[in-house]
């Protein structure tokens, strides 16, 4: 285990990134429409618990995933309705739901802790899996991993290449103008917040049915939601860049397991924390890059511009500001 094996390392990154990737893509869609759903961490936990319990009781993994998707969409709907229609702070509602959904998951999942339940079986893709290195890294996973990779492209295509995606983006940029064009921004925001929440719920199910099978207190998925929220910013509200962020994060996590093997005296939790200071650091970089003095400095220097480009990203203009009809 202490030997660094590149194939296992990268295969682990691709597999480990699946849940956080789904959560990050979901939140990217939500925030593109101009709403912040802060409840991610709790939604993931409740989704994980629900899917495990449903899959265990019905014996159907599909039912497990479906129930987690419903839970995710419902919590997102609460956030959306409170902020869009009831005029309450979306940050406040999201935060309350973060804690509440997690506690609800612990409470209702209590009888199902530390029991063996159904898990998603690996499904290697014939022929492709025989390619040396790449076959092992990319084509020897379970269905959810493939789904998460497909979702990156699908999200990008939907947001940037379809007319519905155009409406989604315009609601996040200028809801007032959308209203003038006969689009109800509130309905659109509610819809995409729920779509995003659906993916976040699936992320939870991916934890309890594949990545970290089973349920318990703690489950092991705690904190992921917050990372996903940060990755959306890291990705500059672009699904592909957010996905790169998710893989970077998964890489760090896997690396942490190896580091732990090399330094057994340091408790495991210390390594698990590493992404958080890194998150602050990247957010700091993103902001520094957007300062005018830095942009002036980079004027005329191609190499510097391309570095800065990595850390720049435009926030949807109306993000976090609830649209009011007048």
């Amino acid at each position: 285990m202490n030997e660094l094996n590149m194939t296992i390392l990268f295969a682990g990154v691709i597999a480990g990134a699946a849940p956080i990737l789904l959560a990050t893509l979901g939140e990217t869609i939500t925030e593109k429409a101009g709403l912040i759903n802060l409840s991610l961490d709790g939604t993931i936990m409740l989704g994980a618990m629900t899917s495990f319990v449903v899959a265990y009781e019905t014996g159907s993994i599909v039912m497990g995933f479906a129930s987690a998707a419903v839970v995710g969409a419902l919590i997102a709907a609460i956030v959306a309705i409170f902020s869009i229609y009831l005029d309450q702070s979306q940050v406040a509602v999201g935060f309350v739901l973060t804690l509440m959904a997690r506690d609800l998951a612990y409470f209702l999942g209590n009888p199902y802790t530390r029991i063996h339940g159904p898990t998603v079986k690996p499904l290697s893709i014939p022929l492709l899996e025989d390619i040396p290195f790449f076959g092992e890294v990319f084509f020897n996973h379970n269905l959810l991993v493939y789904f998460s990779i497909l979702m990156i492209g699908l999200c990008w295509w939907y947001i940037y290449r379809t007319s519905n995606g155009l409406i989604l983006r315009s609601v996040g940029e200028n809801p007032r103008a959308c209203f003038a064009r006969g689009i109800d921004p509130k309905k659109i925001q509610l819809l995409y917040t729920m779509c995003g929440g659906l993916l976040v719920g699936l992320a939870g199910a991916t934890f309890s049915l594949c990545a970290k099978p089973g349920w318990g207190r703690p489950q092991g998925a705690e904190g992921t939601g917050w990372i996903a929220l940060a990755l959306v910013i890291f990705g500059g509200w672009h699904p592909v860049r957010a996905a790169i962020g998710a893989y970077l994060f998964a890489f760090l996590q896997v690396l942490g397991i190896y580091l732990q093997g090399w330094f057994p005296s340091i408790p495991a939790q210390v390594f698990q924390v590493a992404p958080f200071p890194l998150m602050i650091f990247t957010l700091l970089l993103i902001n520094i890059v957007q300062k005018e003095s830095v942009l002036e400095l980079a004027e005329g220097k191609m190499w510097m511009k391309s570095i800065l480009g990595v850390f720049s990203g435009a926030m949807p203009t109306a993000l976090g500001r609830t649209y009011k009809t007048d």
Partner: protein, 357 residues
């Protein structure tokens, strides 16, 4: 309408809303309990008995009330200027770390009182420092205080674990049970029978009064409120919003640090991994439910402390998870927000009607 009548009708409406919210939450909790296959009445009974059933239980409630109220006091400053100080949890932890650091120096000392006082001041300074980092990341780095604070919470937790398993580990075995227990003369003096620190209780009451006076009668309180409600107006008063944001963070962190300090000197007498016990996060809910009111916050904190302490009985007696308290607390805040929205909308409707008359 005369003003006394107005107050009476307002009071009537508030209490009607409160009762309605409580009924909704009660129904919801009962539904959750039934869903878990648990007897609701027995659960409520054990929560009540486990929190207010005896003097010993009550002292546990007050032990939880102290850090909860101190954090809530601190959060009132940061909320007033519109900051979401989610980092309060980490501020409690760093306060506890600084306090432990000073007490460790005092292990061999001969003047325990001196070390106790210094450790308390160090705890406040530690919390304030951790809040100030989040504040600078916000004002200078442009990082939203939620992400800065949250990241710092995880860092603080890692520091505590590293200290407990590394430099400050107990002789022989390092474990999750924490550092070596401090000698008795480094404990905050407590009422013997119920093991409740009177000094901690007094400090908390003082904190409430100071916060109330500060927010209401001083220029700082006025400016925090002015900046919180309208940052654009800041330049008219020649105010520097960033400076006041940092100031609010220092106050918030200071009170949180004091909470962490009392957790060490008055409750656990050592540093443990869960020294903050989620009281920081919970205090955010307390302040929201209290509608950011300094006098209502301690009362809500007391109720929350009862729920927390009482629900500890649930795993032992009914084999339920103790997190039911968190579900009730969250439901209460959501219900309060919904009521608030309802009040806003009916007020707007009344306005709308009267404008046509």
């Amino acid at each position: 309408m005369s003003s006394s009548q107005d107050t009476a009708s307002k009071f009537f409406r508030y209490s009607r809303e409160l009762i309605l919210a409580l009924v909704v939450v009660f129904a919801f909790t009962t539904f959750i309990l039934l869903l878990a296959g648990a007897p609701p009445l027995a659960a409520y009974y054990h929560i009540f008995k486990g929190s207010l059933g005896s003097l010993g239980k009550l002292s546990h409630v007050i032990k939880a009330w102290i850090p909860l109220t101190l954090c809530a006091c601190g959060l009132l400053y940061s909320f007033r200027i519109g900051l979401w100080n989610i980092g309060v949890e980490g501020q409690v932890m760093v306060g506890a770390v600084f306090t432990t650091f000073v007490l460790r120096l005092g292990m061999e000392g001969h003047v325990p009182v001196f070390y106790l006082v210094v450790s308390c001041i160090a705890g406040i300074a530690g919390g304030a420092l951790w809040a100030l980092i989040a504040g600078y990341l916000k004002t200078k780095g442009g990082i939203h205080e939620i992400f800065a604070g949250l990241g710092l919470n995880f860092v603080a937790q890692a520091i505590i674990l590293w200290l407990i398993f590394g430099p400050w580990k107990r002789a022989g075995i390092a474990s999750m049970s924490g550092t070596e227990m401090f000698p008795r003369d480094l404990w905050l003096p407590s009422v013997f029978a119920i093991r409740l620190s009177v000094i901690g209780l007094t400090l908390t009451v003082v904190a409430i009064v100071i916060t109330a006076l500060m927010l209401r009668y001083t220029k700082i309180g006025l400016y925090l409120k002015a900046l919180g409600s309208n940052v654009q107006a800041a330049h008219m008063f020649d105010l520097n919003p960033r400076r006041y944001m940092l100031l609010a963070m220092i106050f918030a962190g200071g009170f949180a640090g004091l909470a962490g300090s009392i957790q060490v000197t008055g409750v656990y007498h050592r540093l443990i991994p869960a020294i903050s016990s989620n009281y920081g996060y919970l205090a955010l809910l307390v302040v929201m439910l209290a509608n950011y009111n300094v006098w209502i916050s301690p009362a809500v904190a007391f109720f929350f402390a009862c729920l927390n302490v009482g629900s500890i009985q649930l795993p032992m007696v009914l084999h339920l998870d103790s997190s039911l308290s968190g579900v009730i607390q969250g439901a209460l805040v959501l219900a309060a927000l919904a009521m608030h929205a309802w009040r806003l909308q009916s007020a707007r409707r009344e306005e709308h009607v009267s404008s046509y008359e």
